[in-house]
Amino acid sequence: MSESNCLKFLYLCPHLKMHKPLEKMEKYNLNHLRELEAESIYVIREVAAQFERPVLLFSGGKDSIVMFYLARKAFWPAKVPFPLMHIDTGHNFPETLEFRDQLMKKTGAICISRLVQDTIDQGKVVEETGVNASRNVLQTVTLLDALEELKFDCALGGGRRDEEKARAKERFFSHRDEFGQWDPKNQRPELWNLFNGKKNMGEHFRVFPLSNWTEMDVWQYIYMEDVDIPDLYYTHKRRVFYRDGVWLADAPFMVKKDTEEVLEKDVRCRTIGDITCTGVTLSMANTLEEIIQEVAAARVTERGGRYDDKRSEAAMEDRKKEGYF
């Protein structure tokens, strides 16, 4: 076995003990997490400087939690100079909302909430029916309405380029036309650290400060910085059922086929989103160390458990063009 394979093998061994990362002591050397942090903070400050009314899109998932944490770092000791907004499908894990409210209380930040249910009640979208029904697509309409209503000219999102292949071509500063659409074939070149946020009235930007982070980076950063995350990410007992290779959480609004049996399992969430399309992972991981080891050993991407991406090969690209997160 070559040395690098040997190291890889050691790393994938789940019983190994994890050590807290030490800051590099070498002169003028930042580790990869510190360099990613510096880049993201720079991007967030550019947003505050270049736009009049930015908003930070907050879902209660780990990426938006880290993004908000970085925003607090960017402006400390002042408060984050823009609000957060949660586009609420109504299909949340209750723990997510609880966590969100506590975080706002602790940090003194304001989180605006807009409900997909309201968009449905206004007759702007029609709820999907059937066993695979989800409000994931519908929330784009709620989001675009909210941006227009509240006159936000820039929305910060926690999207990462490693998540999905359509996102791999996304810019840090991503221009949206007056319909909120993304034109992937005609994006502005992005050079050095010079971000062009110029736009016409009615247009807006989506900005992704975590563009260069991977799932592993996010977990390592949470570990290094002791960032609070919802308990849903750790192992817990939950009633779940199995569909097309994915374990889904049971909830009153989940429509099940007759053949689908609800079982109680030890699970944890790898991503947190709408319950109807976020799969859970069978796991006993109870600490951040264990989660990091699990992520390192994982052979399926975190979006592999996302039902919304399985709809077609270009599912994400199609949703993004229309103005999805």
Partner: protein, 426 residues
């Protein structure tokens, strides 16, 4: 277990290396990236299954690793790469960001974009075709953008019987043609991306080659001296003024250190006002730092109350940047609308915004021959030339070759808001 401990510590303490890949059509670039991702386990089962399905549908004989990097529907349908795609993988030593740039139309524009943030450029040469005009063009762009390290991979060695002579001939030709270019660190490697020779594992087919593998180079190439730690440059991005009892008189200047180091007690000057002061503290949310260096994002506070706003620059007194409104630069044109002589454009430079007029185009470069053309005064998409601009206000800059942050500029079309030019100050 000692080794294990060291390893774990190392893994969470990786360095970040950004590289860009360039090659002509069918040089095997996607295969190489696919192999790096696959061998470093950055490709997951569901991604692999998805491309296996797609390859089967298209009737490809092998699993087409290029499908991994072609993310957009149009790209997969047409079998071409349209835009710069960013890829990520990590080994125990480093985390890598690949800016994968397409080899077709708009090549220069995309490569310039990918190259602007890269530490390393990998340039692929097909062993069967040798050094082409395009190879020289890739190399020119890498040197123009001041990528510190260039690795030339002579690929498809398996199709030339792993011949040492073929490798040596190409290396010789390449050195002859690139002699005009200013390259800091140039290396050559014989590989086969398809068969895996010298990519991650050493090749058993080329025992005449005793250098490192590509992965070894990427993991070990020394990059921490690439940044400029001499000239203290701190472009002010944002002024932090907390409206809170506890921080009543706090006035901090937020920014990312472009170059050099800053620590409490350092004497600094503020541009454009020219006032001088002393650094009082270097703050972050968790702690105040004894010293900060590029590329950290921090907040500086000063001992004296000076009027400072976004676009100003805090610099170390010992080495001041240049100040001026008439600035010469090499520019790569990025837009389908050609540059307008005497036209007006927005300028973005560090955190400062200005407008400018294009005053002159002394020459442009034929990037296939590297010759200079002094007659043609037009500049269109993918062309590179030297221009002189006059800005509405003074900029504080360094030559690009000395400082990639304070030496770079983008030009923006005032009508469309598009980014149309990438400038490197001479």
């Amino acid at each position: 277990m000692e080794k294990t401990k060291d390893f774990q510590r190392g893994y969470l303490n990786m360095e970040l290396l950004r590289f860009t890949t360039a090659g002509s059509v069918d040089d095997g670039k996607s295969t190489l990236i696919g192999r790096l991702l696959y061998d470093s386990k950055a490709i997951f089962e569901d991604q692999m299954e998805a491309i296996e399905r797609a390859s089967e549908q298209k009737g490809d004989e092998h699993v087409n690793l290029a499908l991994l990097t072609d993310g957009l529907r149009a790209e997969r349908e047409q079998g071409i790469t349209i835009d710069v795609a960013y890829r990520y993988f990590a080994t125990p030593k480093r985390k890598f960001i690949i800016a994968d740039t397409p080899g077709h139309v708009q090549y220069t524009r995309n490569m310039v974009t990918g190259a602007s943030t890269a530490n390393v450029a990998i340039i692929l040469v097909d062993a069967r075709n040798g050094v082409l005009e395009q190879t020289i063009r890739h190399c020119y762009i890498a040197s123009l953008l001041r990528i510190p390290h260039i690795i030339v991979c002579i690929n498809k060695m398996d199709l030339k019987d792993y011949s040492e002579q073929v490798y040596l001939d190409i290396q010789k030709k390449f050195k002859e043609l690139s002699v005009k270019l200013d390259i800091q660190d140039l290396r050559f490697l014989p590989i086969s991306a398809l068969k895996g020779d010298n990519v991650v594992e050493r090749s058993e087919n080329m025992d005449w080659y005793d250098g490192p593998t590509l992965m070894y180079l990427l993991e070990n190439i020394y990059i921490s001296s690439d940044l400029n730690y001499v000239d203290g440059r701190f472009p002010v991005q944002y002024v932090v003024r907390p409206q809170a009892e506890k921080f009543h008189d706090y006035r901090g200047y937020a920014g990312r250190i472009a170059s050099g180091t800053f620590e409490p007690g350092d004497r600094v000057a503020v541009l454009p006002s020219g006032f001088t002061s002393t650094i009082k503290s270097v703050d972050t949310m968790k702690e105040s730092l004894k010293q900060a260096f590029a590329p950290q994002s921090v907040v500086l506070t000063l001992e004296d109350d000076i009027d400072i706003s976004r676009g100003d620059m805090i610099v170390k007194e010992n080495k001041m940047p240049e100040v001026g409104q008439d600035i010469e630069m090499m520019v790569c044109w990025l837009s389908e609308t050609p540059m307008v002589m005497n036209g007006k454009y927005y300028v973005k430079h560090t955190a400062s915004d200005a407008r400018c007029i294009i005053k002159d185009l002394p020459f442009k470069i034929n990037i296939n021959t590297l010759g200079k053309n002094y007659e043609d005064k037009s500049l269109s998409l993918n062309e590179i030339g030297r221009i002189r601009i006059r800005t509405t206000k003074p900029l504080y800059y360094d030559p690009y070759r000395r400082n990639r942050i304070t030496g770079s500029i983008i030009l923006i079309d005032e009508a469309t808001n598009n980014t149309v030019g990438a400038g490197m100050i001479v």
